[in-house]
């Protein structure tokens, strides 16, 4: 597994592994196929002829409606929110050196959801994104304060995360019971994570978040590789451990909060993606690209399932990820605590 260099002139040289790049390409192809399937399957599905029409700018009104209002935003949000969750989880797990240190386990996603719910109660309009960010910030703050030792202790973080998630759920429940019935059922669907009736503004929000996060993550990534060696070595190699951790957590919180703002507090995508990516690419390091692609893949897959599979039809996508994620979390807990014992 030798590292090769992608070079542009004298200024740019980025390392990569051939196996990783192959896996990335396969995953990208899978995401695109699933996205195409999402657009094509079912009653409202577009036919290949419709695609030709769209490309030549001669699509019918009905086709445009399906693409721009019904299926298009939904599939774009699935891909981008999934990528944001994956990146967020990878950043968190890397700088906390805690395989369970991800936004969902920490109660951050639940906090962002509670923030959105609480914002809906206020008499003046607060953008969903602001509510999500505030909720996520408060949740992560509570976890950091309550463990007393930051985010590196696996068991303390899980326990604090459970407590914070419980508080967030209480806030959310209160909001749901306090609001009118129509609003409450909409809110309930949002809070398990649903991709129904997304609009183009939300696509823009998550797209902008990813575009802004990209250069920051690129700039952080060499130091993230160092962070795995422990704070002392990171510092002695010139990598500024404390600053790197703060910066990575900030980016991670923003990514998770924005993903929650557009897709709801979707469970466990952030937790699963980095682990799945590491198993697939078999590399060390923060695995950012792999985690983003895995997150996107999981979300598109789950969303396609709730649209087309008979048993789970019309369930919010978050239920599916919670089902798989819960099993995966159990598996991680077992292996982690066994490792701790040996």
């Amino acid at each position: 597994m030798t590292v090769k260099m992608f070079r542009v002139g004298e200024r740019i040289a980025l390392g990569y592994r051939r196996r990783s790049v192959l896996i990335w390409l396969v995953m990208t192809a899978a995401i695109l196929s699933l996205a195409a399937a999402t657009l094509m399957l079912g009653k409202l599905g577009l036919s290949p002829a419709d695609f030709v029409d769209i490309l030549s700018g001669e699509a019918s009104t009905a086709t445009e409606f399906v693409l721009q209002r019904v299926r298009g935003p939904r599939v774009l949000i699935a891909i981008m929110a999934g990528a944001a969750f994956g990146l967020s989880g990878a950043l968190f797990q890397n700088v906390t050196r805690n395989p369970l240190g991800s936004p969902d386990v920490l109660g951050l996603a639940a906090g962002a959801g509670a923030g959105v719910a609480a914002a809906s109660l206020l008499p003046w309009a607060i953008p969903t994104a602001v509510g999500a960010l505030a909720g996520a910030g408060i949740a992560i703050g509570l976890v950091i304060v309550s463990t007393g030792s930051g985010l590196s202790s696996t068991s303390k973080v899980i326990i604090s995360g459970i407590a914070v998630a419980a508080i967030a759920t209480a806030v959310t429940q209160f909001v749901v019971t306090a609001t009118l019935r129509d609003e409450a059922s909409r809110l309930t669907a949002y809070l398990v994570g649903s991709l129904n009736s997304r609009d183009i503004g939300q696509v823009g929000l998550i797209a902008a978040t990813l575009v802004l996060a990209f250069p920051v993550i690129l700039w952080l990534s060499p130091r993230l590789e160092l962070m795995e060696l422990g704070d002392e070595l990171t510092t002695s190699l010139g990598g500024k451990a404390a600053a790197t951790r703060t910066q990575a957590i900030l980016v991670s919180v923003v990514l998770a909060a924005m993903a929650v703002a557009v897709a709801g507090p979707i469970a466990f995508v952030a937790l699963m993606s980095p682990h799945a990516a590491r198993m697939l690419t078999r590399t060390s390091g923060p695995n950012l690209v792999g985690s983003a692609l895995t997150g996107a893949l999981l979300m598109v897959l789950a969303d396609l399932a709730v649209q087309q599979l008979p048993l789970v039809e019309d369930l919010p996508v978050g239920i599916i990820t919670a089902g798989f994620g819960g099993v995966f979390l159990g598996y991680l807990l077992l292996t982690e605590f066994r490792k701790g014992q040996s």
Binding site: A13, P222, E228, L233, T235, S236, L237, G238, R278, G285
Partner: protein, 258 residues
């Protein structure tokens, strides 16, 4: 004054600071062992000399410049530190680990420098790890693993190599391997400062000893010059005799009266 120096270095507060008013210049081009009882401040001294522990103001200087004033990467091109408990990243190979020692020579978008391959190959060669380059670290023995860490530190190509208890938790043959390696590093002009526990190994392999007690340096010099029964009593609270190592003739401390 050139070189790596500590002046009035005080770390910790209150009645019993970890280090108090300590003055020390790292002996250039030599293998120096820092010895002393548990909790005497050995690790603290070594960490303070590398900015892993940030000393106050200008207490630690490299060529007359306070460490804090130097850019982190430039400092990392001059001083390397191997901590006592480095974290092994999941699934990393020996070569991957050693390559991380090249970080100080990279920039955010340029994760490569022309000297990387030669530096990595040389570090693997010097530590006898070339044959293991593509092995995952988890599959190595304790001694090989420690050599991999040393290779990483050597790939950093620094003038100063600081090692915090590099031989602890290794069995005797691996301890000796590491000590021989320390001596070999200084043979090509580099400076090694290592915290060691075994007095006799320190006396046999190091050029110079720094003896610490309660946050201060109480003796410094060649093993022959400074190891006395009085010093051992004062520092370790143990009655001893000093003989000579049957192989190397270096001083050998033997406990007595039991």
């Amino acid at each position: 004054m050139t070189g790596l120096t500590a002046t009035h270095l005080t770390v910790g507060y209150g009645a019993a600071p970890v280090l108090s008013e300590l003055d020390f210049t790292v002996p250039e081009g030599r293998f120096t062992a820092v010895i002393g009882p548990n909790g005497c401040g050995k690790s603290t001294l070594v960490k303070s000399l590398s900015r892993v522990l940030t000393a106050q103001a200008d207490m630690v200087q490299l060529d007359d410049k306070p460490l804090q004033k130097l850019k982190p990467k430039l400092l990392a091109q001059r001083i390397a530190l191997l901590p006592q408990h480095p974290v092994v990243p999941d699934g990393v190979t020996v070569r991957g680990l050693v390559a991380r020692g090249r970080y100080p020579y990279h920039r955010p978008l340029k994760q490569w420098s022309a000297d990387d391959p030669a530096a990595i190959a040389q570090a693997l060669e010097d530590t006898g790890m070339t044959a293991f380059a593509d092995f995952p670290i988890d599959e190595l023995s304790g001694g090989q693993r420690q050599r991999a860490w040393l290779a990483m530190v050597l790939a950093q190509q620094t003038q100063y190599v600081l090692l915090d208890e590099p031989t602890s938790f290794l069995d005797i043959s691996h301890q000796i391997e590491v000590l021989r390696l320390c001596r070999a590093i200084t043979a090509n002009g580099r400076t090694v400062l290592a915290v060691l526990h075994d007095l006799n190994q320190a006396a046999r392999y190091a050029d110079e000893l720094v003896v610490m007690h309660r946050g201060a340096i109480v003796a410094q010099g060649t093993p022959h010059d400074i190891l006395t029964t009085q010093l051992i009593t004062d520092v370790f609270g143990m009655e001893s005799m000093i003989g000579s190592d049957p192989w190397s003739g270096t001083p050998m401390v033997v406990p007595v009266a039991d």
